[in-house]
Symmetry: C2
Subunit: 348 residues, 2 copies
C-alpha cells in the first residue's frame, strides 16, 4: 500500500507505482483533456451546467465530467476538471470565457495590480474545486488515481499580463525587461500554487501535475528564472507539506531543456510535448507523453502505429502513456478507445 | 572573387564568405522580414502599390522595398521581397490576402486538384519575381548579397491543403494517413521549388534560403519524409544546376533534429529558431539566427544583452546573425539599428 498524501485513501494503481518506482502491473495511461467536448456525455452535462466556469465551480457536475471518461475507457487516472485560470480568478481577477473564443481575464501589469490580489485559500473558487476533488475520489476505484493540477507561474502569468490572451508577447517583454512587478507576480504565483495544490491533496488528490503550457516560449536565463526555478520551488513547497505526494512537471515545448526539467529535485515524472523524442531522455527519468493529438484525427490505424512506436521507445516501468497536448475537439471517441487498446496490446 | 551562380555579379561579401567558409571581415547580419510594415518607408510604398500581392508582383516597387532596409542599416544582405505562397499562386491556385487576416488560398486535397496545377516557370508571377531580383541586384553594393527564397514543401503544402489557413491540422492528417495525393504534392513542390530557385539564381540571386516555417510540426518518419528528404532533394536539385550557389535551410522549430538538418548534403548553413541553443550544434556547422523577435519589443538595452549572449555562443566565422523568426509589426526601427550596432560592437 502506498501513502499518497493526507486525506487520500491508500490505493494500488499503475500510475502511482510508476511514479514511485515500484513494479507496475501495466503501463499507466490517461489523456490530457480526457474530460471534454469531444464526448457527447460531457456536452450534455455542460449544457445543464451553464457556462464553462459554472461547470468548473459546480462540484457535483465537475466530478461527474471528471469520472465520465473512466466509464468509457480503462484508464489509470482521472484528472480533476478545472481550469488553470482558477488561481487568478480566485485571486480576484474578473474572468469569463467568451463562447468560441478564449478567456477574458482582468490584467496585472503593475505592482499595484498585483498587490490588489487576495490569497486563494478559503476562496469560493478553491473551495468548490476541492469539493470536486473529494466527490470525484469517492467515485473512483482504488486502481484509478486522481490527479489534481495547477498552471505553472509562467503560463498563468502570461494570461494575467495579457488579459486572457494566449499571445504571450506582453509577458515576454516584461520578462525580458525584468520588470520588478513581473518577478513579484511569478513569486506570488509560486506561493499560491503551493497552497492550491496542497488543498487539492488534502481533499483527496493522489498526484498533482503542474502545467507549464507555454514554457517553450523562454530560453536562457529567462527559462531558468521564470520556468525552471518557479517549478522547482512549487515542487519543493508541495513536497514539504505532502512528503509522499507524487508531482508531475509538464514544461511543454522546451525541447532539449527537458533534461533540466527532469533534474528538478523531487519531481517524480516529467511530461513532454509531442515533438520530443522519448529516447533522448536519460534512462532513469519517468516520462509522460507524447502521442500527437492530431494523430487521433487520422484514425485508428494511424494511432495504432504511433502507439507502437512510442511504446517501443520507452520502457513501460518508466512511462506514463499520454498525449503531448490535450485531446482536440472533433476527436472520435472510438479512436480514443483504440489508443487505450493499442497501449494494452503493446505490452500484452 | 567568388563565383556565386549564373547571372550574379561576383562580389565580396561577409555573408558569402561565411557561407563558403572563407575568412570573413565581419559577422554578417540580416533580418528575416527586414522589409516590412514596421518601416514607415515600406508602408508608404505599400500604400502606393495597392494590395500586398500587387506589391509582390510589381518589380520596381518590390525592388524598392527590398533595398529600403539597407539604406537604414549596415546589413550584409537584402532578401527578395515576395511571399512563400507565390509558388502555389503561380501553379494556378487563387490567392488573396484579406486585410488584417491571413491568406485565402485555393485548396488541394486530391490527386485531381493536384493534376490541375501548372508548372511555375514562365508564369506571370514567377517572371515578375525574377524581374524584382534583377532590379534589386542592380541597386546593391558588392558587399551586400541578394538572397532569394522559397517556402519548403511541407510548409507550402500545409497552406495548400488548409486553403491558406495557418492551422496545419488537415495537412498533418493527410501526412499521417500517407495519402498518395499528399506525397505527390510534396514531390511536385520539390520540383517546382528547384525550378523557382534556379530562376531566381539566373536572375541574380547570390544565395537562396528555403523556409520551412512549420517543420516543427512533424516528428519521426513524417519529419524524415515530408521535411528532411524534400529539403535535401531541393538542395541537390539546385546544386546540380548552380554548383556554387550557397543554400541556407531554415527548418524552424525542429529542435534537436537541427543536427539532422545540418547533415543535409550540400546545405551551406542552417537557420535555427529562437528556442535553439546555438552551442548545441557541432562546431563545423554554419548557423544563422537566432535572436528572439520579441526581445526587440523590450528595447535597446535588452537586445544589447541578448546579442552579446548569442555572439559569445558561436564563433563569428560560422555565424550569420539573424532573428529566430521574422521582425514583428510594431518593432521600433531604432531598436533594429541597435541590434546591428550591438553585433558590430561584439566583434569590434
Amino acid at each position: 500500500m502506498i501513502e499518497t498524501g493526507k486525506g487520500a485513501p491508500a490505493s494500488r494503481s499503475a500510475l502511482l507505482d510508476v511514479l514511485t518506482r515500484k513494479p507496475a502491473e501495466r503501463r499507466p495511461i490517461w489523456f490530457m483533456r480526457q474530460a471534454g467536448r469531444y464526448l457527447p456525455e460531457y456536452r450534455a452535462v455542460r449544457e445543464k451546467a451553464g457556462s464553462f466556469l459554472d461547470l468548473c465551480y459546480n462540484p457535483e457536475l465537475a466530478a461527474e465530467v471528471t469520472v465520465q471518461p473512466l466509464r468509457r475507457y480503462d484508464l489509470d487516472a482521472a484528472i480533476l476538471f478545472a481550469d488553470i485560470l482558477v488561481v487568478p480568478h480566485a485571486m480576484g481577477l474578473p474572468l469569463r470565457f467568451a463562447e468560441g473564443e478564449g478567456p477574458v481575464l482582468g490584467s496585472v501589469r503593475s505592482m499595484e495590480d498585483l498587490e490588489a490580489l487576495r490569497p486563494v485559500v478559503g476562496t469560493h473558487e478553491v473551495t468548490q474545486v476541492c469539493r470536486t476533488v473529494g466527490l470525484t475520489r469517492a467515485q473512483l476505484s482504488p486502481h484509478q488515481a486522481l490527479i489534481g493540477f495547477c498552471g505553472a507561474p509562467w503560463t498563468v502569468a502570461s494570461y494575467m499580463v495579457g488579459g486572457g490572451s494566449s499571445d504571450r508577447v506582453l509577458a515576454k517583454v516584461a520578462a525580458y525587461q525584468r520588470q520588478p512587478w513581473f518577478g513579484a507576480l511569478i513569486d506570488r504565483l509560486v506561493r499560491e500554487s503551493i497552497d492550491y495544490l496542497s488543498a487539492q491533496a488534502d481533499a483527496g488528490a493522489q498526484v498533482v501535475q503542474i502545467f507549464d503550457s507555454w514554457a517553450g516560449d523562454l530560453i536562457g536565463t529567462e527559462l531558468v528564472d521564470f520556468v525552471l526555478k518557479p517549478l522547482a520551488a512549487i515542487v519543493a513547497g508541495v513536497r514539504a507539506r505532502h512528503p509522499n505526494l507524487p508531482v508531475i512537471v509538464f514544461a511543454r515545448g522546451v525541447g532539449m531543456a527537458q533534461r533540466r526539467v527532469a533534474g528538478i529535485p523531487g519531481a517524480n515524472a516529467i511530461g513532454v510535448e509531442t515533438e520530443f523524442e522519448l529516447s533522448d531522455l536519460p534512462k532513469d527519468v519517468v516520462v509522460q507523453g507524447n502521442l500527437d493529438p492530431v494523430s487521433l484525427l487520422a484514425g485508428a490505424e494511424v494511432v495504432a502505429s504511433e502507439v507502437k512506436r512510442i511504446c517501443a521507445s520507452v520502457d513501460r516501468q518508466r512511462h506514463i502513456f499520454n498525449l503531448g497536448h490535450g485531446i482536440r475537439l472533433g476527436t472520435d471517441p472510438t479512436v480514443v478507445g483504440a489508443v487505450v487498446d493499442a497501449v494494452r496490446r503493446c505490452d500484452g
